[in-house]
């Protein structure tokens, strides 16, 4: 296994639309992540962030290129890949008619977490995320804040080394968003590799160790915030982002693409 928990190489996803022809949602991107790192994918809506993360989670299969998660190829061993990552997004919901505890136990089992230790793990997570009080309450009876906590616990119930968070703060209030950021920091401190997508600049600035700016399916820049500042001469991430995206758009126009 390589030193990098996540290695992405020339990953490409092309869709075919009956009316618009080929759409390059992800266009030959490459990057790698180290343990205990939060890697941010920063891009506007439709830039290709979610498709990239879905490819890494093997929800979709790539058209070209590949990636490895903990040494498992997303094309060859999709099941093993999913077994060692946790995926969280605003659209990954919970089963409304299960209780919080049943949810954690169910996801632990189908992610092949050792059965003997599952109960203990569920107790630990319930305590850690403060869901003990409503662990036996059905998900559809919980508030959105409670659901968010259960959802995070669901993501890490099988203790995966790699975590993917796709715009996790979309639709959350300020306090919930801050709580999410805190949780992400804690996971990083535990040595987990986190790939985190957002279009909120302040969030990326605060959390990410490295940032990849993605636009039209391509990565335009990938470095630490400090290095990006040096490269562009801009202080704020917003300016840095705009500079890269506008530069790319002009290039696209120049080449007539």
């Amino acid at each position: 296994m390589s030193d990098y928990p996540v290695m992405v190489s020339e990953l490409t996803k092309t869709f075919y639309d009956e009316s618009r022809g080929e759409i390059h949602a992800v266009d030959g991107i490459s990057f790698s992540c180290t343990p205990g790192e939060i890697f941010g994918l920063l891009g506007a809506n439709g830039a290709g962030k979610t498709t990239t993360l879905r490819l890494l989670a093997t929800i979709l299969s790539p058209t070209r290129g590949t990636a490895t998660i903990m040494g498992h190829d997303i094309r060859q061993e999709p099941q093993a890949v999913r077994g060692c990552l946790g995926f969280y997004s605003a659209s990954t919901a919970l089963y409304p008619r299960l209780t919080a505890r049943e949810t954690l136990e169910f996801f632990g089992k189908i992610n092949h977490y050792p059965t003997a230790q599952l109960s203990e793990r569920v107790d630990y997570l319930s305590k850690r995320f403060g869901i003990e009080a409503y662990a036996n309450g059905r998900i559809d009876k919980l508030s959105s804040g409670m659901k968010q906590r259960v959802s995070i616990a669901r993501t890490v119930v099988h203790d995966p080394p790699v975590l993917i968070f796709d715009e996790p703060t979309v639709g959350l209030d300020v306090l919930s968003a801050l709580e999410m950021q805190k949780v992400l920091s804690e996971f990083r401190d535990e040595g987990k590799t986190i790939i985190f997508s957002t279009h909120i600049m302040s969030e990326a600035e605060r959390l990410c160790d490295r940032i990849a700016i993605i636009h039209n399916g391509k990565i335009l820049a990938c470095d630490s915030l400090d290095n990006l500042r040096v490269e562009t001469g801009c202080r704020y991430l917003e300016d840095i982002f705009v500079k890269f995206v506008r530069g790319n758009t002009e290039t696209v126009q120049d080449t007539g693409r």
């Binding site: 092309t14 869709f15 009316s19 618009r20 022809g21 659209s91 008619r97």
Partner: protein
């Protein structure tokens, strides 16, 4: 598909738990059918009994319209009615079977304005006496008296032929009491007539019951179980699939389409469980729920039979041995898995719950129709039918119930259904890898912009509407019975008019959409040579299809006379049958439709799709295969030449040739296999010419790509 891994069983366990906790689903799928069915049956049983009771106590009001030529008819008819009632009452007292039934009571009321009074409910019926009995013809002697004194002259003197009484009972079928009164009176009169006839025969020396004369008796050599097996076998698969579809639809729709809407499917797809395991668990869920519902419904039916709420047909024996029950269960397993898979597939290809509900209707019919195969006389499992999923098991079940086991064919049928179930499960697994199907995506730019970008997504809907228009308007409007009006409405208005409207609505480029391009000259020669060859080959395809669904010769002759009516001059038929369809139908199918679907399918699949759709537009089932075959040929030519014109010439030429052959009384039934072989060779040669001088249709999709 993996059915019994730990993950499958765990997911299945959770799915069942969630289903049982979903009150709405449980109520709709299990409780409601269980409660509604008995309520409906009790209700209708009670209502029927009550109605019968009420009708027994009613005295029906009627009046008699007198015959103008015979003013005494009224009084005579009353006397006649008295006699009728007397006879019937006597019969009631002597025959125990008639005792339970109270005879209907009638009371004559004054005449005048009968029709209005009948409409207003003030009268139950009135009787028009067209030619009344002559006074004195009927005596007041009862049949009993007559039996005692047969020599003294009977009451039943044959009337003169010209004075045979003729009664017209006028009633209203839209009123229960009126309809019932008419039925009762009719049966009263018929009973009287029967008795009267018998008495007359006795008078003439016929001294035994006429029923005994020339008596025919039947002896059924089949056992009671075999006879019942045939009866039950015709419907069993149909009933089972009906229960499965009704019971499993709610859970199947919720299981994938519902999960998409709720976002839980994406969560599941990010776990270590395999796609095939997800499908396996969901198929088990649908199967378990639908079997449970089916079992409850069958138990329900047995209870109703037990309480005699539903009467079993006479002589029906429903005793099935345990061995037969096990065999039936084994036979049903792959069919149930196939149907569960299809239900889930419909759910899988739908982005929302609502869309899945809409898609369920065609699946319901597609699933039910093959199961009616045992109702067709002459269809056997040991035929090509063994390869048709669902139909083959339906036929097999019937044969098993009749007691004729054809083990090799049963095994083949089982394997065919199992293979179909695996195929559907694989297709279903693929739907879990397509982004547009994983999430319930929102509208995109093409939806907002409309125009040519949107047309490919709407083309099937529009052609579906055109098909419905054809079915409804052309098939049901009586004024469209002549060939002229049929062609004008079907071909010109629906096909040409509909196509032009689509071009206008979606702002399509006319030249592109209709493939208006010139072709090289050898193409025309190949088309002319290919016309008779394709026609012969299409007839060959028809004969092959005829092996599967035999078409009565009479039907073909009638159809031929309808399409090529002999009273029309040839020139007008050439215009109607050849030229207009050649232009209008090609504009619709090889023009607009092909343009709409050109990127949806691989170019090798396109002719099949367009051909089959073209075949379906010819409505009659027996025309499906030959017209679809010609549709495939026309589409292939269009794809190779990039132009609609060769297909237009071919279509028109083909129809004109068929017309002329019909006029010259040349029947294709004379054709033997050398003709079919020769036509195939000529067709291949023609297509080699198209290939050599090809100018391919632009914008085709040669590589298989994942749809968004």
């Amino acid at each position: 598909m993996r059915l019994l891994t730990a993950s499958v069983l765990e997911l299945f366990r959770q799915e069942i738990r969630m289903f049982l906790r979903d009150r709405r689903a449980v109520v709709l799928s299990i409780v409601l059918p269980l409660v509604v069915m008995p309520l409906m049956l009790f209700g209708s049983y009670w209502a029927e009994k009550r109605r019968e009771k009420q009708l027994e106590t009613v005295t029906y009001q009627y009046t008699v319209i007198q015959d103008r030529e015979n003013p005494a008819a009224d009084a005579e008819f009353r006397a006649f009615m008295d006699l009728v009632k007397q006879t019937v009452e006597q019969k009631r007292q002597t025959e125990p079977a008639a005792k339970d039934k109270e005879p209907a009571k009638f009371a004559v009321v004054s005449a005048g304005d009968e029709a209005k009074r009948l409409a207003d409910g003030k009268l139950d019926l009135y009787i028009e006496v067209a030619a009344a009995l002559k006074p004195g013809q009927a005596t007041r002697k009862s049949p009993k008296q007559f039996e005692k004194d047969p020599e003294g002259g009977g009451p039943f003197i044959l009337p003169d032929r010209n004075t045979v009484p003729s009664l017209a009972i006028c009633y209203r079928a839209d009123r229960d009491s009126s309809r019932h009164a008419a039925t009762e009176l009719r049966s009263l009169l018929m009973q009287y007539r029967r008795d009267n006839r018998q008495q007359l025969l006795r008078m003439r020396g016929f001294n035994f019951d006429p029923k005994e004369f020339g008596k025919v008796s039947e002896h059924d050599l089949a056992t009671k179980d075999q006879a019942s097996g045939l009866y039950v076998g015709r419907f069993l698969t149909l009933f089972m699939l009906f229960f499965l579809l009704i019971g499993g639809s709610a859970v199947a729709i919720d299981s994938i389409a519902g999960e998409k809407e709720r976002g839980t499917l994406e969560t599941l797809l990010t776990t270590a469980i395999r796609r095939s395991e997800i499908i396996g668990a969901k198929m088990l869920l649908v199967l378990a729920v639908s079997l449970c519902i089916g079992l409850l419904q069958v138990t329900n039916l047995i209870v109703y039979f037990g309480f005699k709420l539903i009467e079993l047909p006479k002589g029906l024996s429903v005793a099935i041995s345990p061995g037969t029950a096990v065999l039936l269960f084994v036979l049903f397993i792959p069919v149930f898995l196939l149907m569960s898979g299809l239900l889930l597939y419909v759910s899988g290809i739908s982005k929302t719950y609502k869309e899945a509900q809409l898609n369920f209707t065609p699946l319901f019919f597609a699933g039910i129709i093959p199961a009616i195969a045992p109702m067709f006389p002459g269809l056997k499992l040991r035929s090509v039918m063994v390869l048709v999923p669902i139909s083959n098991i339906s036929l097999g079940v019937k044969e098993v119930l009749v007691g004729k086991y054809d083990w090799p064919m049963l095994a083949v049928a089982w394997l065919v259904n199992a293979a179909a179930a695996v195929y559907v499960a694989r297709r279903l697994t693929n739907t879990l890898s397509q982004e547009r199907l994983i999430t319930s995506s929102e509208k995109d730019l093409a939806d907002l912009r409309g125009g040519p970008e949107l047309f490919p997504r709407r083309v099937f809907i529009w052609f579906g509407l055109m098909w419905v228009a054809l079915l409804v308007v052309a098939g049901n409007v009586e004024s469209l019975t002549s060939i002229w009006s049929q062609i004008l409405v079907n071909v010109v208005l629906i096909f040409l008019g509909g196509s032009l409207l689509l071009i206008r609505k979606y702002r399509l480029d006319v030249r592109e959409a209709l493939a208006l391009r010139s072709v090289r000259w050898p193409v025309w020669i190949a088309v002319v040579v290919g016309i008779p060859a394709a026609l012969v080959a299409a007839h060959g395809a028809f004969l092959l299809a005829n092996l599967l669904i035999p078409v009565p010769k009479k039907m073909l002759e009638t159809f031929g006379e309808y399409v090529f009516p002999p009273e029309y001059p040839v020139w007008s038929l050439v215009l109607l049958i050849a030229v207009l369809p050649g232009i209008c139908e090609e504009v619709a199918f090889r023009g607009v439709f092909l343009y709409g679907v050109r990127r949806r399918y691989h170019p090798f699949v396109l002719p099949l799709v367009v051909g089959i759709v073209f075949g379906f537009f010819h409505m009659a089932l027996f025309r499906l295969v030959p017209t679809a075959f010609l549709g495939v040929v026309f589409t292939a030519v269009t794809l190779l030449t990039g132009s609609i014109f060769p297909a237009m010439l071919w279509h028109a030429g083909s129809n004109a040739t068929a017309l002329l052959l019909s006029r010259w009384k040349l029947s294709p039934t004379e054709l033997t296999w050398p003709y079919f072989a020769a036509s195939a060779v000529v067709l291949v040669l023609a297509f080699l010419v198209f290939w050599r001088f090809r100018t391919p249709y632009p914008g085709l999709r040669w590589r298989a790509r994942e749809k968004r």
